[in-house]
């Protein structure tokens, strides 16, 4: 057992740890999302203005939060990777990218489905929606960029720089509804004013958000284990594992 946390930056020690964590986060994700969806449909009250249609918020808002949070985490791993020259950081960023792209797409997709009945349009080019679309392109661009460079170290470094340049987009997405006039309404959960949302609705949204967190961690760990095996296939400990299965 490693005696300090930095030893987990070695793929060989992280691989089994990630394997042990996956079932826990998977179970937590399944329970929280099941409870959250049940509350979304059957427990949370009808909205005074939007009726039943507002219930898409319980997927839309947590997905949008995750889309921004995962990007920030990937940018954080990029800094760690560039500063400490740690291989595992780039693998973590790479493992998170498809999940981040998926949540960005889900946020845009559910937003379109919500916009049509409430606003009267599937899509508008307002600051919030456009900057979220740019976030999707950043994720796809990152995935394409690291995939197109054969030299892993160069690819990781190019990907890290792309992620860090794109990080300016995150505050733009978050504050777009305050800085400019937008069709998209402001944030319900405010840092500097009272949140006006029914308590049951708020709890449901937070449960869904925690469920999405657990899901993201679980799939990222599953994915990082595959990436470790692929990239470290020359190492003797990987050969032992692959040899066991073959």
């Amino acid at each position: 057992m490693p005696s300090n946390i930095f030893q987990f930056s070695s793929p060989a020690t992280f691989y089994p740890l990630a394997g042990r964590l996956v079932p826990w986060f998977s179970v937590i994700a399944i329970i929280l999302i099941a409870v959250g969806l049940y509350m979304s449909f059957f427990v949370a009250p009808t909205d005074y203005k939007q009726g039943e249609g507002y219930r898409i918020i319980f997927v839309h808002v947590p997905a949008a939060w995750m889309s921004m949070l995962i990007y920030l985490v990937m940018a954080g791993w990029s800094i760690v990777g560039l500063v400490f020259n740690a291989r595992l950081s780039a693998m973590m960023a790479q493992a998170l990218a498809p999940t981040g792209a998926m949540f960005t797409f889900v946020a845009l997709w559910t937003g379109a489905f919500w916009g049509k009945p409430m606003w009267g349009t599937w899509w508008v080019w307002d600051a919030r929606i456009t900057s979220e679309l740019i976030l999707l392109f950043l994720y796809l661009g990152y995935i394409a960029l690291i995939g197109s460079i054969d030299d892993r170290r160069r690819g990781d470094r190019a990907g890290a720089i792309l992620l860090l340049v794109g990080v300016v987009n995150i505050p733009i997405i978050y504050f777009s509804v305050e800085w400019w006039n937008t069709l998209h309404q402001g944030s319900t959960i405010k840092m500097n004013a009272q949140t006006i949302m029914d308590e049951t609705m708020l709890v449901t949204m937070l449960i869904m958000a925690c469920g999405f967190w657990a899901y993201s961690i679980a799939v990222a760990l599953i994915r990082v284990r595959q990436i470790i095996l692929q990239r470290e296939h020359h190492a003797s400990w990987v050969r032992e594992i692959i040899g066991d299965q073959a």
Partner: protein, 149 residues
């Protein structure tokens, strides 16, 4: 300074420079990134007069009137400071109502009426059950009454 500290400093300086550049760009673009003009901005002449733009604000209470025989609706849009009359022919979104937000796309005509060819509803960020909304409404009215008396 160790090599890794140098790299960290370089990253932080680059990020700060990038942040500053973004701030300056957004600052220069300013209001061009806004999706709509408020009635006050339109009356102050900040909106284009010769082409299509978007007008956003609240639909004034008791201002919505429907023409006989067709789908034309006229109403007044206000930002609680200035207001502009709007005419629109077409189907309104379900959330369109007096006292609610809306964004219309169209052009000013010679009489100072905004001729809209699209109307979207803008809703606020508050979510609650109808009973609570009714109770808050009643509370608001009671408060207004006690201050006027």
């Amino acid at each position: 300074m160790k090599a890794r500290q140098q790299r960290l400093m370089l990253i932080l300086i680059a990020l700060a420079a990038l942040g500053l550049a973004t701030y300056l760009v957004l600052n220069a673009l300013g209001g061009n990134l806004s999706y709509f003009f408020s009635p006050t901005e339109v009356i102050e002449g900040k909106a284009p007069t010769d082409r299509i733009f978007r007008l956003g604000g609240m639909v004034q209470a008791d201002s919505v009137a429907r023409a006989e025989g067709d789908l034309t609706v006229t109403f007044t849009v206000t930002d609680h400071h200035k207001s502009i009359p709007v005419a629109y022919t077409g189907i309104l979104p379900d959330l369109f109502a007096e006292g609610q937000g809306m964004i219309a796309q169209g052009k000013m005509n010679a009489d100072g009426v905004f001729i809209a060819d699209e109307v979207l509803a803008k809703h606020d960020e508050n979510y609650m059950p109808p009973e609570v909304a009714a109770a808050m409404d009643a509370g608001q009215k009671a408060k207004l009454q006690s201050t006027t008396n």
